[in-house]
């Protein structure tokens, strides 16, 4: 398949050039995926498909456009590219649009990133079904008579990609992935039917936890929500659980991109080199972690991947600046998108930290909410547990936290020792002090 993708990419570049493009970048992506879910001990959904798509960026007469299509019939594609080139010529000139200087393609590492499970093709339908059944059975057993509904699922796939430019870059990548999940809905008091999920996402099948662990985790989390109440508004320490830190941290991260800075939509635009968080926050972008979900050897511009310290002990060191916005800003480019993000874990467990704090809120989920990247203001609903004397005593619902990112990250007090393995953001649980948790 690899050669077929290369052939298609070369053909697409040729079509674009023949149509008058001065330069172009093309991506070909294919994926084979299988999804299975079970409910009430029988298959609920079975889905299987293959996809192939072509994306093309066109540079002509100082102008730029991009396109994406799944209609790969040769004549249709040729016609589509021809029209796209012609229409690009009608747009306004943009002096900052070009393919990158090829010097940024240099220095690509030759590493096995562990992105592909060599035994993927040996995974049988029976094994998939057995895996999902085991998840469901474990969730049903743990949930016991509180279960209203359990849905267990698996999703796996194999994808290949080629990225090629008309100024000398080409890169190939492939990936396998495996997902196991369960969602339980339970019968609580009155009409309340709490639901939570357990999930694992890995690139190598051997890294999946036992299916029973996924099912048990979903049931344990659902049962923990029983009896949830809205409490009175109070200023408390909070612990954001590892698997949901990325959602809250996303409000900070979105202000670190070149486009937002150039478009005056970033509250971090003038903060490079300044303290934007407490000493406890270090953020590392590491594309070379074997088996990690964000590992890569090159980015979407074709830049050779590099490990970067984005925030060092609270000091903002880098932004995500792709080739285009680097030219608009007059800055040196870094990379346009994160790879695997790391917040170095601390030494203590969440349980030990809760004991130390005494009273606070452990946030296990968020609901609604948003973050204003221009001002840093954020407000978001929470789901979790009030803990007292270090022990969870009351599930909470219909409550909210609000702050400004430039303030709340200064009150980051500690990172726990539990980096979340099933995400591109390998963040540990984080502790913040003096947060207004609003309720009654």
């Amino acid at each position: 398949m690899k050669q077929e993708l290369y052939n298609l990419a070369e053909s697409g570049i040729q079509m674009a050039k023949s149509a008058g493009a001065a330069a172009c970048r093309i991506g070909i992506d294919t994926e084979r995926t299988v999804e299975i879910s079970y409910r009430e001990r029988k298959p609920e959904n079975i889905k299987e498909a293959s996809t192939k798509a072509l994306s093309l960026e066109i540079f002509v007469d100082g102008r730029y456009s991009s396109m994406n299509t799944s209609d790969l019939r040769k004549d249709a594609l040729k016609d589509f590219i021809g029209r796209a080139v012609a229409q690009t010529k009608l747009l306004a000139e943009d002096p900052f649009r070009s393919l990158p200087d090829p010097k940024y393609y240099q220095g690509r590492q030759e590493l096995d990133l562990g992105n592909v499970d060599p035994d993927y093709n040996t995974l049988s339908p029976d094994e998939r079904h057995a895996f999902v059944k085991a998840i469901e059975e474990a969730c049903l057993a743990k949930g016991g008579d509180k279960v209203i509904s359990v849905t267990a699922g698996s999703n796996d796939g194999y994808g290949e990609s080629v990225l090629m430019t008309s100024n000398g870059f080409d890169g190939y990548s492939e990936v396998t992935y495996f997902v196991g999940s369960a969602e339980m809905t339970g019968k609580d008091e009155g009409d309340r039917r709490p639901a939570e999920y357990g999930v694992a996402v890995v690139l190598q099948r051997k890294d999946l936890p036992k299916p029973e662990m996924i099912g048990i985790d979903a049931a344990r989390r659902t049962l923990a929500l029983f009896g949830a109440k809205k409490l009175k508004t109070e200023t408390l320490p909070i612990i954001i659980e590892n698997r949901v830190v990325a959602r809250f941290g996303g409000g900070f991260l979105q202000a670190m991109f070149g486009r937002g800075i150039q478009q005056k939509q970033s509250f971090l635009a003038d903060k490079k080199g300044q303290k934007v968080a407490s000493d406890k926050l270090t953020l590392i972008d590491d594309p070379f972690i074997k088996g990690a979900l964000g590992s890569r050897l090159f980015d979407n511009d074709g830049f050779a991947a590099k490990k970067r310290v984005m925030i060092d002990a609270g000091v903002l060191k880098e932004f995500y600046v792709d080739w285009y916005y680097s030219r608009k800003l007059g800055w040196e480019p870094t990379t346009g998108s994160p790879s695997t993000l790391i917040i170095p874990p601390g030494k203590r467990s969440v349980a030990d930290i809760m004991k130390d704090l005494g009273r606070g809120i452990l946030i296990t989920g968020f609901i609604g909410g948003n973050s204003n990247s221009t001002t840093g203001d954020t407000s978001i609903g929470i789901v979790g547990q009030l803990f007292e004397n270090g022990v969870p005593v009351q599930a909470v619902s219909e409550m909210n936290i609000a702050d400004n990112h430039l303030n709340i990250w200064q009150r980051l007090a500690e990172a726990a020792n539990d980096p979340y393995p099933y995400s591109q953001q390998r963040f540990p649980s984080l502790v913040f002090t003096d947060v207004v948790v609003s309720g009654i």
């Binding site: 995926t33 409910r39 747009l91 999940s181 009175k232 005056k264 909410g369 001002t375 609000a402």
Partner: protein
Amino acid sequence: MKKMTRRNFIKTGASAAAATLAFPTILSRGWYSFAQAEGAGYFEREFGITDGLCRKILAEALARGGDLADLFFEHTISNYLILEDGKVNRAYCDVALGVGIRTVKGEQVGYGFTQELSEKTMRAAAATAATIAAGAVKNPAREFTRIRTADYYPLKTLFSAVPLETKLPLVQAVNDRRFALSPLVVKVNAQFHDQQKRILVVTSDGVKAEDLQPRSYLAAGVVAEKNGRRERAGWNFGGRRDFSYFASAIVDEIAKTAVSRALIQFDAVQPPAGEMPVVLGPGVTGVLLHEAIGHGMEADFNRKKISTFCTMIGEKVAEPFVTIVDDGTVPNLLGSINVDDEGTPGQKTVLVDKGILTSFIHDKISAKFYGVKPTGNGRRQSYQHYPIPRMRNTYMEAGPATSDEVIKAAGKGIYVEDVSNGQVKIGEGDFAFYVSQGRMIENGKLGAPIKDVNIMGNGPKMLANTTMVAGDFQFHQGGTGACGKDGQAAPCGFGQPTCLVRSMTVGGLKG
């Protein structure tokens, strides 16, 4: 890679229109309007999809004993023109072509899809779908009947017939007018999107339906700067509309609204945190209904007994002046559909009738489960997804009060003008939405502006606590709203009169 998607979010981009529309009426253009006439036979003409071929594929999909099978062909062309730093200097085009093949056995679904519309690949996808059943053929496909539908989005001109040279000045005009409105404006971005989605649904229970679903919007954002502080706001108009909708007055309205909304934020304060009365202004605040009740009324959640509303049909859930509707027949609104993605005609479904919970919203699977007719809510993001019950345009009908009476009755609380994000937990009924713009209410009058505040509530409690509804109903006239469920995005519309919710949790900064 597919993400583990949590259900139910809404991004509405910008907010409600100023104009109040009459209540929905079916357009009088009758059957086979321009769009449908142009669309009839499209897939046979362009891709050789004949009835005979469809029968072969359906036979394959039913070969192992499925109850029902359907084919969903899609050819969608989407265009985006983007203005940044004063020039329309970026265009993006996306083409989606493929067919999804579904086999249903009871409540079980087998699904395969392919982007190559050859008999060989389609039969292979059908064979995948068929594996949900394990037996012999029980329900062979019936003869197809082409269904006739009303046209809720007639087009004067297809977007493919509008030259790029005609679209470009429209986007440029937003930029030019906005900078002229205030010296505080430092950045403008704008986007024009048009889409032509052609679908063909062929089902083994004898339905053949074609549709051409347009979608378009003109959206813009503005950043203003004052004394070193920056604020941002946006606005858009759109829906299932053709190019003729985007006249000069629309451009003016977008420019004026975006600028005024950005400037007012320099005076915004943070409301206190805690429970207080909340008044929802007319229009886009219908997002609250979408979250508080709409998702909970989707029948897949109810047949699985995971919705908090699953036992409440026939019960009083609100005051008699509260009627809530999900409606696919509102002319040109974003969530309107002539036919759903299972071949059921678009229609209007009353969810709460004068305070009584009356109906869920159904796809074919849930309708069969409950022994009712499908309500035309079987929708999907694309051929890569199987249909599930989804909302269309969800709104609360006008009530007896005036907006001044509602605000006065609130006494002290907050008034919501614009929202940008929402989410619900189906089983608990807890929901949240993000207020990007609003006002304090002090002594029964509108006060200082507020912004960037999340509001939390519980669906059944919110309905019970809706104590006043005004007569100033408005539909949200935006074109960017999309609802997410089970990893699928679908365009949805909203509507709402001013109403008072006695108590909700406001996520302010101070206790």
